[in-house]
């Protein structure tokens, strides 16, 4: 297999709080192969978004602290480069789309302004040329009547349309990597499918890779090639979509799958939610952070955090019981 587009090793994102250090991301590693989609799955608070922010330099330091062994993207280490270089890459080679397009788009600026500034900043285009490109991209993402709408403000668009605008904004510079942070969570179910289809289509067209952050396993099944399951700031299991769905090894992964309705389940099978709550990142327990909710926990789980075991290429799990 060729070099992964992005290779993250042992990433940490810490915040100081009144009660000590909050470890939002506590040693995360994963790879994103070229032209493929990696889904990062977990409950809210598991550190999925913080991993991306930390990697891209969007975590304000101070008060936060981002460090790790490396985040190699197209041959450069995101963690060690200058902020100026990172800024060059952001929006150009790596683009991000966010969960709620209503708050993620600037309500005081026109859509045109928010689109053209990306091209002006990274490609040095004139305003006119940037506008033309933006119109074309709006058309590609499926916005009807782009000429009429490009000068409008975000609040004049519907939710699904706003998300398309965000996607257009992210793809303007033809990035190699698209990070989509829960892109469909804030949308109607009917629109969700359309947006996911759009993302898949654009990825095929550009040959780019995607990191898809989600807590919805249904979305994972439909769009992802690889999966990384996160809990309490760490990756607890990794693998291809088929491996994860067919043979989950980590009890958390199993729990997630059991709590999601599946078409192939029998009528009598019950949905089993995982009891309890995820831990507070500033008060992580000793040993495995999942043990309080884990049906397979043993004494060993309280003693030390489980080692990461590599089962095969790209297949890992961090669990004493697995």
């Amino acid at each position: 297999m060729s070099e992964p587009l992005l290779s993250v090793r042992n990433l940490h994102v810490h915040y100081p709080t009144e009660d000590g250090v909050s470890k939002a991301v506590d040693g995360v590693s994963f790879d994103v192969p070229r032209g493929r989609t990696l889904a990062v799955v977990g409950e809210s608070g598991s550190g999925k978004s913080q991993t991306m922010y930390g990697m891209l330099g969007l975590v304000p330091q101070p008060p936060g602290r981002v460090f790790g062994d490396g985040a190699i993207f197209e041959g450069e280490d995101l963690l060690r480069m200058s902020e100026a270089r990172r800024r060059e890459l952001r929006g150009d080679r790596v683009a991000m789309i966010f969960q709620d397009p209503m708050t993620a788009l600037n309500p005081f600026l026109t859509v045109e302004r928010q689109l053209t500034e990306v091209l002006q900043a990274h490609k040095g285009l004139s305003r006119k040329a940037a506008r033309a490109e933006s119109l074309e991209m709006l058309r590609r993402v499926g916005i009807p009547d782009p000429e009429g709408r490009i000068d409008q403000y975000p609040h004049q668009f519907s939710g699904g349309m706003r998300q398309r605008v965000m996607i257009a904004m992210a793809l303007l510079c033809r990035p190699a990597l698209l990070v989509a942070d829960e892109p469909t969570t804030a949308l109607d179910p009917t629109i969700q499918a359309q947006i996911l289809e759009l993302l898949k289509a654009m990825q095929r067209e550009l040959g780019s890779s995607t990191i898809l952050i989600t807590h919805d396993l249904g979305v994972v099944a439909g769009t992802a090639d690889f999966v990384a399951v996160m809990y309490a700031g760490r990756v607890v299991e990794r693998g291809t979509v088929e491996e994860i769905f067919a043979q989950p090894r980590h009890p958390y992964t199993k729990g997630l799958l059991a709590s999601v309705p599946r078409l192939d389940a029998g009528q009598k099978e019950q949905l089993v939610p995982i009891p309890g709550q995820p831990p507070d990142p500033s008060r992580l327990p000793s040993g495995c952070p999942f043990r309080a909710r884990c049906p397979e926990a043993t004494d060993r789980c309280a003693a030390a955090y489980p080692e990461r075991r590599v089962l095969s290429e790209g297949r890992e799990v961090a669990c004493w019981a697995a």
């Binding site: 952001r90 929006g91 966010f98 309500p107 900043a121 990274h122």
Partner: protein, 344 residues
């Protein structure tokens, strides 16, 4: 948008009416009149003056207390007459009051503020025409100072949140709020005029004369604007859309000036309404300290001299300015926030 503006403009009228009426009642209720402090005046002259100022209305006299209508009635005799016919006297007063109100209102509506009580050959309009431009100039200079210093300080404080720049700027702002302008003014004069001889201490004869008074008047507002800007910017910087702007790889300067500033400025714009009100009030003292011939100083002199017509006119003019200024601020807010402008 235009309809809204029109509605607001029309809405000013009733408020002005209330203010006008309140001032008028105050004026009528106040003891004293145009003549008290001066040497006694012959009865006929007094009566003519009273007729001129509409303090006497022949129709009312005839209706309630005809005995008043004698041109040679002495003050003592008048007093006795009123005491004897208490109810008729009250009736006549009320009637005259109503007439005076009507007359004054009609005059005000056409922009004539009547003759001054104290300077009988000058009209109030003359004073206003002389004083208003000066006060407006002073106010503008103060506002410009306040905006420049305040915005800059607030921006720096927000950008260097919790660093020494932040604490210094906010400390200075708090000091600006706490030093009364009548303390700051004399102190500045003491230092810059009387000790260093850099700037003139008083009067209004050129641009150098505007610096100390403008700064003194504007300092409080600079302080408030700095605090509001900092607060607004800190609030905005946490917003998702600022994170998006950074995620797009835009330069920090662009993120702040193009994306954050617009939202962060809103509290400052809202504040401009009350700020302008305060500027007017503050000019009363500033004009006194620096001996500036503006409306504020005329007002105090008028009040102290019992020149009621002048005082009342100043109150009404001030109110007009305030109401219009508030309207403009509201319109500006509407224009700046597209969510308000294009209500779907």
């Amino acid at each position: 948008m235009g309809a809204y503006a029109l509605r607001r403009l029309l809405g000013i009228v009733p408020v002005l009416l209330v203010i006008f009426t309140l001032s008028f009642v105050l004026m009528r209720a106040a003891p004293g009149g145009p003549f008290d402090a001066e040497k006694p005046v012959p009865a006929e002259v007094k009566r003519n003056l009273e007729l001129k100022y509409h303090l006497r209305e022949p129709w009312c006299e005839a209706r309630f207390l005809p005995a008043l209508a004698r041109p040679d009635l002495q003050p003592a005799a008048e007093k006795a007459l009123r005491a004897e016919n208490a109810w008729a006297s009250r009736g006549e007063r009320l009637c005259t009051g109503v007439f005076q109100y009507g007359w004054l209102l009609a005059n005000y509506a056409t922009g004539d503020f009547g003759p001054s009580y104290k300077y009988k050959d000058r009209s109030v309009n003359e004073f206003i025409a002389a004083g208003l431009p000066v006060t407006i100039q002073l106010g503008l200079v103060a506002m410009v100072f306040a905006l420049i210093i305040g915005l800059a300080a607030g921006l720096v404080a927000a950008m260097r949140h919790n660093a020494w720049e932040d604490h210094a700027a906010m400390g200075a702002a708090l000091l600006g709020i706490s030093i009364p302008n009548f303390v700051l003014g004399p102190v500045l004069i003491l230092v810059f005029s009387l000790t260093l001889f850099w700037l003139p201490p008083a009067r209004w004869d050129g641009w150098q004369y505007m610096i100390l008074p403008g700064f003194t008047l504007g300092s409080v507002y600079a302080a408030y604007i700095a605090r509001l800007t900092r607060g607004g910017m800190l609030e905005v910087i946490r917003q998702d859309y600022v994170r998006t702007a950074r995620a797009k790889g835009l330069k920090e300067r662009v993120v702040i000036l193009r994306h954050a500033l617009r939202g962060g400025m809103l509290p400052v714009i809202s504040y401009l309404g009350p700020a302008l009100a305060g500027l007017f009030t503050g000019s009363i003292v500033i004009e006194r300290i620096f001996n500036i011939p503006g409306m504020g100083r005329y007002f105090v002199d008028a009040a102290l001299n019992r020149d009621i017509t002048l005082a009342m006119a100043v109150v009404v003019v001030d109110a007009i300015f305030l109401l219009v200024a508030n309207l403009l601020v509201d319109l500006a807010l509407g224009l700046l926030d597209p969510r308000v402008r294009y209500d779907a």
